[in-house]
Amino acid sequence: MLEKILILLCLSSALAEQPCKPDASDGYKVRLSIKTALGDEAYVWNENEMFLFRATLAFAMRSHLNGQEFDVSNIIVCDETPRVTFWFVVTSPLNTSGLVDKGVVEEAIRMSRNRINSAFLLTDKTLEFIGITPTLTAPVNPDTPPWLIVFGVVMGAVGAGIIVVLVSPLVLKKRKKNEETDEDEEETGVKAVENGSTREGVYNMSFSDDERLTQM
């Protein structure tokens, strides 16, 4: 009889001390990849770092559930591996044997994810909470798509070029016509006297061409 009571006591105490175990229904697995993130500047994972993690998580729980005073002792960690993975569960400060619901823990972590990451100089990819997918950052969508701006610049230059090339000979022609009409007015006075100014006469090409042919 005594032995049975002893066994029951031992079992119950053992069970009470084991809220955290792998695949706990209210727990999460954490995976850190410190060397991948920091390379040569990687810090060693030790008890102090673990303390910081528990403190950060307590901070996250406090921020989410205003009023409940979570402490480092409320975050229970187990099953640590050299990979630096471990499981954790969160106990409620009001009832030390009861675990906080998984969903609540997830929301708390999502809210403070950035702060948790920066405490450890890690990112969403290198500090993973297995089961909590990071919220995807929406790609930046500026109001005017940048490609339209480049397009506008290029097309503006091309359009201006076309107009310049098309209009400039017309402008030159007009200028020449004005100059010609001025000179013609002068020439009418001189025409009676002079004979064979350079404007008169017809330039024939065949004469110069003839020279070319005769050389053959």
Partner: protein, 620 residues
Amino acid sequence: MGKTGDSGVEERPKWDNKIQYLLTCIGFAVGLGNIWRFPYLCQIYGGGAFLIPYLIALVFEGLPLLYLELAIGQRLRMGSIGVWKSISPLLGGVGIASMIVSFLVSIFYNTIIAWVLWYFFHSFQNPLPWSQCPLNDNHTGYDVECEKSTSVNYFWYRQTLNITPDIETSGSLQWWLVICLASAWCVVYICFIKGIESMGKAVYVTATFPYLVLTIFLVRALTLPGATDGLVYLFTPDVSPILKNPQVWLDAATQIFFSLSVAFGGLIAFSSYNSERNNCERDAVLVGVINSATSLYASISIFSILGFKATNAYNSCREDNILDLTNHFELSDQNMTLENYYQWYDYLNSTFPDEVASLPLKSCNLQTFLDQSASGTGLAFIVFTEAVMEMPGSQVWAILFFIMLLSLGLSSMFGNIEGVLTPMHDLKIVPKWIPNEVLTAIICLASFLMSLIFTLGSGNYWVEVFNGYVGSVPLLIIAFFEIIGVIYVYGMKNFSEDIYFMTGSRPNIYWKACWMVISPIMLLAVLIAYVGLQAQKHPTYPTWNPDYELFPQTQVKDYPDWVFAIILLLCIVPVISIPVVALYELICCKIQRSSARAEPSPYCNDGFVVETQEQNNQRF
């Protein structure tokens, strides 16, 4: 000058200097195919060994045809229609066929330039838009189509083309492609506004810039890891395809032929603006050799970058495996690296084979990644953009790459447009009061409206149809008639005399043998083999269908019958003018033909004959 100029012979435009002419011809010959078709052919046909059939085709088919076109253009000093009419009125249809082919090719070619412009405009963003998948509607994950394929594929097929699942579904006009197409035609117009005066200045940039960019890329790529793997892979000769697969010879011959851009009429037009005493033999050899050398040089650059890309893919494949293994076996972080991956893998596989087998590990093989080949738009817009993403400073490389493609495409477009404009002038169907600028604008506008087909959802499929069928069989037929027309109708003797007049020496035995025997036989063989191969199976095309089970692989579908009919039309309509014009000339003009057949000869040049008549008219 002004008065007789109007009533006498119009001064033919001239090149400012020889360099302009050479750069224009080289720019026309060197096009997008040198970048994205030749390296692909080298890769699938055993690397360095492909050069053997390629060089044989160049020497016996490419150079003779090139020399022939440059010579007759320079001698007869007219566009393609005028030239063939002068040689024999029966052959006038050859010129018309060239003009139609040039027009059809320029329509779809400028669509490719529009796509390049689109990517160019998007290269100014940071990060590059094709490096990320967009989020889906409720922001919980990435877009499904993008997840299954890659972000680069998604950007090309969905955000650029917005492609439909097959050619029968036409979709609607994509407004962004329409404005890119409009800007492409505006760029072509501004370069062509003053005819060869403006174009000759534009080619200083468009013909030389690609070489600069290729050199920059080469220097950069050689400093990247994995470049030498790509080069070794490309150039390791494997002689077995040449000996076993006759397709190699066909592809080499067609590649040389289409790469040199003969039979478009553009080369004839360009050389018609030369002075008569120009050494066109040297020009032809120079252009042909530079074209092939550019292909080789481009493939070195391209393959260094592809080697870098394959190495990256191989490394990330192994790193994914490392992550899986590290997480599963709870090993310390970074204990397993790329260097000791294989030792770790063997150890783990021998101690825990069941667990290792249960993991979704990928098999990573560098050779598989190197074997992933692509040609055409797939190489430029998918493979290369992906490679550029992984290079540091990717915006700069993307911008440089797309400007290079733009220059290459533009310089080829000049030749195509010239092949349309110069015959129109020669045909004299355009009234004199329309200035050249307006005629060019009308042609650009008409081409733009016709090429709106390619901005539909199914536009890419139509580009492939045009690319495969307009730019192949009709050109072979035209070239065959060209060589037969000059050598046998005009006469080898007359042609030799013309060449003696122009260059000072008669063509040697190599040219004569090629022109009279080797090239026509090669052309005929290539034509028959090409048509035979095409006719053997019902033509198919790859489609991008997100609903396909094996997506992201492309689904191969048959062309529907009405598309097949259009393909046949595209092949036949250009070349039908050859027999039609010949018949017309035979029947209608039989009487006139025998009396007034003016064969051009060295003693009868246009300037002398026409000018004396005009002189008579003015003196009396």
